[in-house]
C-alpha cells in the first residue's frame, strides 16, 4: 500500500509532464493531421534554454529567490521555445501544405534529426547537470519504516500543470482564437471561407504547443536535474503514445493519456522490471493504434470518399 501510494505520486508527476508535451502533438494533429515528429526535440531544446537561462540568473545576476528564478526561467523558456516552434512551422511545414501526404512527416523527421544534432554541436554531447532548485518535501505518512514522501518539486509540477491546463482549456473553449482553432480543426476550407486566417491559426497552434512543451521542459529539468541532447526522442514518443491513447485531437484525452502513461511506466518499473519499461510504453503505443485507433476520448475517424 505504501509503495503503491508512493508510485502513484511519482506516476502522476511524470504523467503531468507527458501530458503537457502530448497537448502539442494532439493539437497539431487535430488541425493539420500530421504527426509533429520534432515535438520531442523541441521539448529537449526548451530544457537547454531553461538550463542556460537558469545559469544566467543565478550565477551572473545573482538572483537567490527560487520563486522569482523559476518564474523568469519559465517565461523565458516559453517565449524562446515558442519562437522555435513558429520558425519550424514556417520553414519546414508550411511550404508542404497540399503536398503528398507523407511529406510533412518526413520533413518533421528531418527537423527532429536537425534539432538534436544542432544542440549536440552547439552545446556538446555530455549530460548537463543542474544544481537542485527546490528540495525538501512533506512526509505524508510513515509505516514500518517506509515513508511516503511528496516532495515540493512534485507539488509544484502538479500545480503548474493544473493551472496551465485550466488556462489553456479556457483559451481553446472561450476565446476567439480557440473558436478559430476548433473551426480549422473541423473543416479548414470552410473556416477559410468564413474569414478565419487559417495560416495564422496554424502558426499559433504550433506556438502554443511549443510553449507548453517548454513548460514541460522546465519541469523536467527541475525534476531530473540533468539533460542531454538525446533526451527528446523517448519522452517525445511516450507523449505521442499518451496523445494517441487519450484519443488524438482531444485535449482532455492528451492529459488523461499522459497520466495513464506516467502511471503505467512507474508501476511497471516498480513491480515488474525497469529494463523493459520503454518496451511497455512502445507496446502500449502499438496496441492502442492497432486495436483502438481513436483512443479513449477521441472521435472515430470517418473516411470520406
Amino acid at each position: 500500500m505504501d509503495v503503491f501510494v508512493q508510485q502513484l505520486i511519482n506516476g502522476l508527476t511524470l504523467g503531468s509532464i507527458y501530458g503537457l508535451i502530448a497537448i502539442g502533438y494532439t493539437m497539431v494533429f487535430g488541425i493539420i493531421g500530421m504527426v509533429n515528429f520534432a515535438h520531442g526535440d523541441v521539448f529537449m531544446l526548451s530544457c537547454f534554454i531553461a538550463l542556460i537561462a537558469f545559469l544566467i540568473l543565478t550565477t551572473w545576476l545573482g538572483i537567490s529567490s527560487v520563486a522569482l528564478a523559476f518564474l523568469v526561467v519559465l517565461v523565458v523558456a516559453m517565449l524562446l521555445t515558442a519562437l522555435w516552434g513558429w520558425a519550424i512551422e514556417r520553414v519546414a511545414y508550411r511550404p508542404l501544405r497540399g503536398s503528398f501526404r507523407l511529406a510533412p512527416l518526413i520533413s518533421a523527421i528531418g527537423v527532429s534529426i536537425f534539432l538534436s544534432n544542432f544542440v549536440q554541436v552547439v552545446q556538446g554531447a555530455r549530460n548537463k547537470p543542474t544544481p537542485p532548485l527546490l528540495s525538501g518535501g512533506i512526509t505524508l505518512f510513515e509505516r514500518d519504516g517506509y515513508a511516503v514522501f511528496l516532495s515540493y518539486k512534485q507539488c509544484l509540477i502538479m500545480a503548474v500543470t493544473a493551472v496551465l491546463l485550466t488556462g489553456f482549456w479556457y483559451l481553446v473553449q472561450k476565446t476567439p482564437f480557440g473558436r478559430a482553432q476548433r473551426a480549422c480543426e473541423q473543416d479548414r476550407k470552410m473556416a477559410a471561407l468564413l474569414g478565419i486566417d487559417v495560416d495564422r491559426t496554424i502558426s499559433l497552434t504550433f506556438v502554443l504547443g511549443a510553449a507548453l512543451a517548454a513548460v514541460a521542459g522546465v519541469l523536467y529539468l527541475m525534476y531530473y536535474g540533468v539533460v542531454s541532447f538525446s533526451d527528446g526522442f523517448v519522452p517525445g514518443v511516450k507523449a505521442f503514445t499518451a496523445a494517441v491513447l487519450g484519443g488524438i485531437g482531444s485535449l482532455p484525452g492528451a492529459v488523461l493519456g499522459g497520466l495513464i502513461i506516467g502511471l503505467i511506466e512507474t508501476f511497471w518499473s516498480a513491480y515488474f522490471s525497469i529494463e523493459y519499461k520503454d518496451v511497455a510504453a512502445f507496446s502500449i503505443l502499438a496496441i492502442t493504434l492497432i486495436f483502438m485507433p481513436s483512443g479513449i476520448l477521441g472521435r472515430p475517424e470517418v473516411e470520406k470518399v
Binding site: L80, L96, R101, A103, F114, V122, F282, S283
Partner: protein, 469 residues
Amino acid sequence: MARTTDASSANASPEGALPAILRDAALYALVAFGLCVPIVSYRTESGPGSDLVLVPRWGLVAALCAAIFVARLLQRLVLLRRDARRALTPAPDQATEAVHGEPDAGQRVSKVGLWAFLGIALTLPLVATAATGGLSSARYWIDLGILILTYVMLGWGLNIVVGLAGLLDLGYVAFYAVGAYSYALLSTTFGLSFWVCLPLAGLFAGLWGMILGFPVLRLRGDYLAIVTLAFGEIIRLVLINWGDVTGGAAGISSIPRATFFGIPFTAGEDGFAARLGIPFDSMHRVVFLYYLILVLALVTNGVTMRLRRLPIGRAWEALREDEIACRSLGIDTTATKLTAFALGAAFGGFAGSFFAVRQGFISPESFNFLESAIILAIVVLGGMGSQLGVAIAAVAMVGGPELLRNLGFLKAVFGEGFDPSEYRLLLFGLAMVTMMVWRPRGLISVRVPSVALGRRRAISGAHVSEGHG
C-alpha cells in the same frame, strides 16, 4: 528556405523591390538572432567541481545571423529574376502548344546514369587499385564502396515498401537487425556457414515482416509509420535486454567470416589464394565482399523491376496512388501490402546478414532509429519508387560525409578544432527538410508507367496526386 514569394514582388521591377527584399532579409536575420539566444550564444561547459559555467559566444551568433541575412538576400534576388523570366513563358498547363518539360530530360538522365553507375560499380576495385597503386592502399575506397552499396541495397529494399507500395516504414532497421542476428546466432551456435544462413536470414526477416505487418497494415499512413517505429524500438530494446541469447548491449563478436563458396580466405594450404595459385593477400576477402554486396544489391533491383511488371507489382503501385480505388476494384489490400512489407523485410534481412559477416561483430547500437531514418532519407531523397534515384541518394548521403571528413581546407577556414564529421547528421536533417520543401518527390521524380499500351510516356511526379489511404 521558404519558397513563399509575395505576388507583389514578382511583378515589381528588381530595382523597386530592393528595399522590400532588404527588409525581408533583415527580418530573417532578426528571427535567427532570436533562435540563437541563448542556445548558441552561451555554451555550457563543465567548470570546476560539478557546476556548469557559461561561455559567451556572441561572435558566432553574429556570424550566423549575417550568414542568414546574406543567404536570404541572395535567395530573394534569384527568385526575383526567375519569376520575372517565368512571367514571360507560359506554364505547361496554360500552354496551347506542346511544352517540353522535365519528363524527357529525366528519362535521358535515367538511361545514361544507369549505365554509368553500373560501370563505375563493376570496375571500382580495379580503378581504385590502379589509381592508388596497390590493392591494400585501395582498401579505403573499396570499404567505402561496400558501405555505400549496403545502403543502396537497403534503400532498394525499403523502396519496395515505401516507394512502390506507399507504406511509410520507420522501423525498417528491425529487419536488418533480424538478418544480422540470424546469421550471427546461427553461425556461432550451430556452426552453419554463411551461404546456408544467407537465405535463412532473409526468410526469418521476411517472416518477421509478416508477423509484424499483419496486425498493422490496416492502419493509415502516419499511424502505420509510428507503429513500425514502435516495433523497431521494441526489437532493439529486446536485443539489449535479452542478454542470455543476444549478448545484450555488448553484442556478438567473432562471427565467422565469409568463404568463397566454402573456400576460406586464409593463407593456409586450402585457402583461396593457394587454390588459385596466386600470392595470398588479405584484400581478396574485401574485394570478394564488395562483389558480393554488389550482386546482392543487383538481385534486389532485378527482383523489384521484374515484380513491378507482374500483377502484384502493379497492385502495389495502384495502392500507393489510391487505396480506396484499389479496394473498389477488388484488390485485396491487406495481402498486397503484406507481400510488399515481407519482401522489403526479406531484402533487409539479406543486407543484415551481409553486415554481420562483413563486420564480424554486431551490437544493438548499430540498429537504432537513426539508421532507419537514414535509409528512409535515402529512399525519399532519391525519389520514391526510382531505383536510380535511390542509388544516387545513397552515394550522396553515405559518401558525402566521407568527403567532408577529408576536406582539409575547412579546417583552415573554421579553425583547427573543427571536425566536419560532427556536422554530418546536422546536414542530414537539413537535407531532408530542404528536399521536402524544394522537391517533395525526390531527385528523380519522373514516373514511367511499368506497363503501358503503345508508347511509354513519363509523367512528372508533380502531376500525380496520391490518394488518402
